[in-house]
Symmetry: C2
Subunit: 591 residues, 2 copies
């Protein structure tokens, strides 16, 4: 195959016995038994055992004695069966070994900062500092392979459907008053800046104006925000858009992508069609717009049960326009202290309290508040929540948003599976135009190019007005979102007005885009999938950093290269900028 | 297919006659004949003629009267044969037309800043300002489609060969004293900067250290230099690297990519194998390291012919260690003034002069210097340059580099085909380690991670020492370059020393990379292809801007969005930077 090898070690099988092969790879493990050296030789295809008998090996004793883990070596030898009793059925190559006749060290390794072996786990900062060693681990290399496979599968679906892959610019204009952009100073126009794109949104819509009709791109995007554990300053999204398209066309395409990716990465077929659920339904049944539908434990409304109740806490809430709702958390085996903890959790989440009940063996309900409730109420609660002996029933009475949030969170805490063997995709549709802030105000839930069902409704009933937007959810994580876009400049102007964006602001922020809409813009719709999150779920990883080859820390640093860093004054001068004196004053000297 | 259409207009054929279809697209052209309106309806699939008879059309007269070019419309109608004598064999849909029964304007268009029709050509600034209209032209949309096809073909080859696609970071560390980086100020570390990558070079080598073995990426790269006509501040390269690889493995992979791309974009098979030529050979025969081998007109050495000549200009040059060389420019039909122009061109290119000769019908040579040359010399020149009656022979005597450059340029000027119907790929190999600067100094020809054939040779014969690097050339354009890399940290240190990079400088610039090399780095080699240039040649475009969806001008500006622009003070403050006072003083007020 190449001058370094004639075969990949991990692919050798019993059928190769008798062949002389030349292999190259890394020393994953070395054991000495009675003067003979056994090495697990690792390459990208897997691991094969090679056996070096110093007596019939021309390599100098010194070389063999010095052979250490992670040395990169090249060997020639004969594929032979392992001796009786030493075959390893857990290894793909476990039937055979390679008897080495020639060995050459291609390069040596310093003492490792941590073991490559999966059983050892170094802390993350150290893993990132030596990412090139961390990526040699089987788990990490599997993550890289799956990522490549997944993206290839996405492209396959879109290529077959005659989408064009188009590269939109990454040095774009910064939109005044928009979200915080990452900036790139321009040398040819000193003191002026490009922005890195938060998404290709406006450019992909321009491509629709340009008549591209089907666009996709695996796009690098940038987000300068305070980092949460699962965010990165640069990230990847599968961005797509179609003209003469409506919501169904987008969702059907997404479903094909999801199915192909899961098939190629996991080897399984997902149930189709992917279910759709309205935002209102998701909020009522799961208390969230990204329900994890791998398990039930749905929220039930108990308003009818407690209408006119003598239990003041419930009755008063209902009278004030609030709701009383509950979940059946199943058999949690909680002690009194366990329930107290749940009550505290509910309060941390914003509830005034939490009522718990346990279904006794005789079907009756044990609860601190049982004595305040009528027999009818207790029986109806048990019936409504389908209580079986041992089940814990949890009830919250409060404003609708609070109840949904608290029960939704408790539901996840008590019911969410630890792993991702099941994959439950879901489309959440019919999002509202506005979302409520914690203090009860209304803010636009999506970017201002999202088509409303009706502008009239936006004006007259902003709290309930719906937009033509939709999310894709997998196992309780939002994989991405999209919408039908506004293609009529008049409608766009009206929507800006209702969203509280003045004509002047709109012109300053995206005047060039609004002008484009005036030249025969087709109806269009699209979506963007967060690739990092999608792959992390497929790979059972809690954190997207595990599926990114060279991620940054939560403060945006790269422990491997030292990015970001200080740069020389002369370079800044060319760009027309300088570091502020007060920042410079806090710096140590450049080393 | 969607609620907007049941067929793509451009795909309709005679076999569709009798079908009712719903189409959506743009009004490419409108003609009125005897009260009937003919419209060329354009969508991504092509153009189809639709016919609207106001009498049997329910659309209001007003709508029809207002129908203008580039309105986006939706029509329903019957596919029918065109009347006798009106079929158009030049159109794929020329046999049929669609008789419209229903028409809806999806969106209107303002008056166009330029005509979409190919026959009109607007100036480039205006085309870029309205790129979304410019891209509606057939030529531009074909460029976009071919770009997508070409990149898909590249991926197909590499996917089949089990390369992993890996996304390397684009917010990287700026290397002090390296080439000029584009910078991104960090908000979480005020006053510090990321750099945008000039290439993924070090990260792809880290992936080899990580055991990835086969890597590729269609990577966005950034270059902050003074723009030439065919450069862009951001550009795309197909970046690839392989472990346990040597030069042949790289070239074989590149050949497979080139063949697949040409096959899918042009529908032709290129001759294989792609020829290889040494750098020395290319310079001697073509005067350039990127020869256009679509035509001959090779440079011939005339040193033997003129050794000891009585013609002082030639003899003195040879005595001083220079060379006398010539090309047969063929039958150029040049007048005396035409030759004078060539002499001036040669002088502009740095030659002291140019000797021209024309082969007469009787085989003799007509030349201003003929009288200074012996009959034997004249006969030998004619023989050596294979002069046929009418041929123009051009001879330059000077230093080797000057002669090569001048004759190489004249060769292109006089012989290079205008179009790109022929595709001549070439690998140029065995590049020298150093290249000569115009003032005769030596500078490294490649990045410092390129493996030399021999360090000893670098030390003792720097002018002739060769490196293990290679270029891919197409029709006289360099498509990309690559090399076998240094995988031994000791060798790397020695190469730095010979290249004049001190240990301290090396540590400051890429200490983190040099450390990585110490952990069992495999031998590896790779390449990067400039995607924009490759596609521009395939599409017969002189400028890469024509094959980029949203390029910048030569000063890095985007006339469409106004990037780069000024940003607000508060945002800069968060980043720990400010615009220098002297720059700010030259600014007009923010509008």
């Amino acid at each position: 195959m190449t001058k370094y090898r004639t075969a990949h070690g991990g692919t050798l099988r019993g059928s190769d016995i008798g062949n002389e092969v030349q292999l190259a790879g890394w020393v994953a493990r070395r054991r000495d038994h009675g003067g003979v050296i056994f090495v697990d030789l690792r390459d990208a295809s897997g691991i094969v055992q090679i056996v070096i008998n110093p007596e019939n090996n021309p390599a100098a004793d010194e070389v063999l004695r010095s052979l250490r883990n992670e040395y990169c070596i090249m060997v020639t030898g004969l594929v032979r069966p392992r001796p009786d009793g030493t075959t390893n059925p857990e290894m793909a190559t476990g039937e055979i070994e390679v008897g080495v006749s020639r060995l050459e060290v291609l390069s040596t390794s310093d003492v490792l900062p941590f073991q490559i072996d999966e059983r050892f786990d170094a802390d993350e900062a150290r893993r990132l500092q030596y990412r090139y060693l961390d990526l040699r681990r089987e788990r990490m290399s599997a993550n890289l392979r799956s990522r490549s496979t997944a993206i290839r599968a996405m492209r396959r679906v879109l290529d077959e459907r005659e989408f064009l892959e188009v590269e939109t610019p990454t040095l774009v204009v910064s939109t005044p008053e928009g979200a915080r952009d990452m900036l790139v100073p321009s040398r040819l126009r000193p003191g002026q800046f490009y922005a890195l794109p938060q998404s290709p949104q406006l450019f992909k819509q321009l491509l629709m104006v340009a008549g591209v009709e089907r666009y996709y791109q695996v796009a690098r995007c940038y987000r300068d925000e305070d980092f949460r554990s699962d965010r990165q300053v640069e990230f990847t999204q599968l961005d797509l858009e179609g003209s003469f398209w409506d919501q169904d066309d987008v969702l059907e395409t997404l479903e094909a992508i999801a199915a192909q990716v899961v098939k190629e990465v996991r080897g399984i077929e997902i149930p189709r069609p992917i279910p759709r659920m309205s935002y209102a339904d998701a909020m009522a049944r799961y208390g969230t717009d990204k329900p994890d539908t791998r398990f039930g434990m749905e929220i039930e409304d108990l308003g009818e049960v407690f209408a006119g109740s003598d239990f003041r806490a419930f009755a008063a809430t209902l009278d004030d326009g609030g709701v009383v709702r509950g979940i059946n958390a199943g058999s949690q085996g909680l002690s009194r202290a366990g329930f107290d903890k749940l009550v505290a959790d509910a309060q941390d989440l914003g509830a005034k309290g939490l009522v718990w009940m346990v279904v006794e063996d005789d079907g009756s309900l044990r609860s601190p508040v049982a004595k305040f409730l009528s027999d009818r109420e207790l029986a109806d609660v048990a019936a409504k929540l389908d209580g079986k002996p041992g089940d814990a029933l949890l009830i919250v009475a409060d404003r609708r948003e609070v109840v949904g949030n608290v029960l939704g969170e408790l539901r996840l805490q008590l019911g969410q599976p630890d792993n991702h063997d099941d994959l439950h995709f879901l489309f959440v549709i019919d999002f509202p135009v506005f979302e409520k802030t914690p203090d009860g105000g209304l803010v636009p839930a999506h970017h201002p190019f999202t088509a409303p069902l009706s502008v009239e409704e936006m004006r007259t009933s902003p709290e309930t007005a719906l937009s033509r937007s939709y999310d894709m959810v997998l196992n309780g994580a939002e994989l991405g979102s999209g919408s039908v876009r506004i293609h009529d400049p008049e409608l766009q102007a009206q929507v800006f007005e209702v969203l509280g964006i003045s004509a002047e602001q709109a012109e300053a922020r995206f005047g060039w885009f609004l002008e484009a809409l005036r030249y025969g813009t087709p109806p269009h719709a699209g979506f963007a999938i967060g690739v990092d999150r999608f792959i992390s779920i497929l790979q059972n990883e809690q954190n997207i950093r595990e599926v990114m080859p060279f991620p940054k820390t939560q403060t945006g640093a790269d422990p491997l290269t030292g990015a970001p860093g200080r740069v020389e004054e002369g370079q800044l001068e060319e760009l027309g900028i300088e570091v502020r004196a007060e920042v410079q004053a806090t710096w140590p000297e450049l080393s």
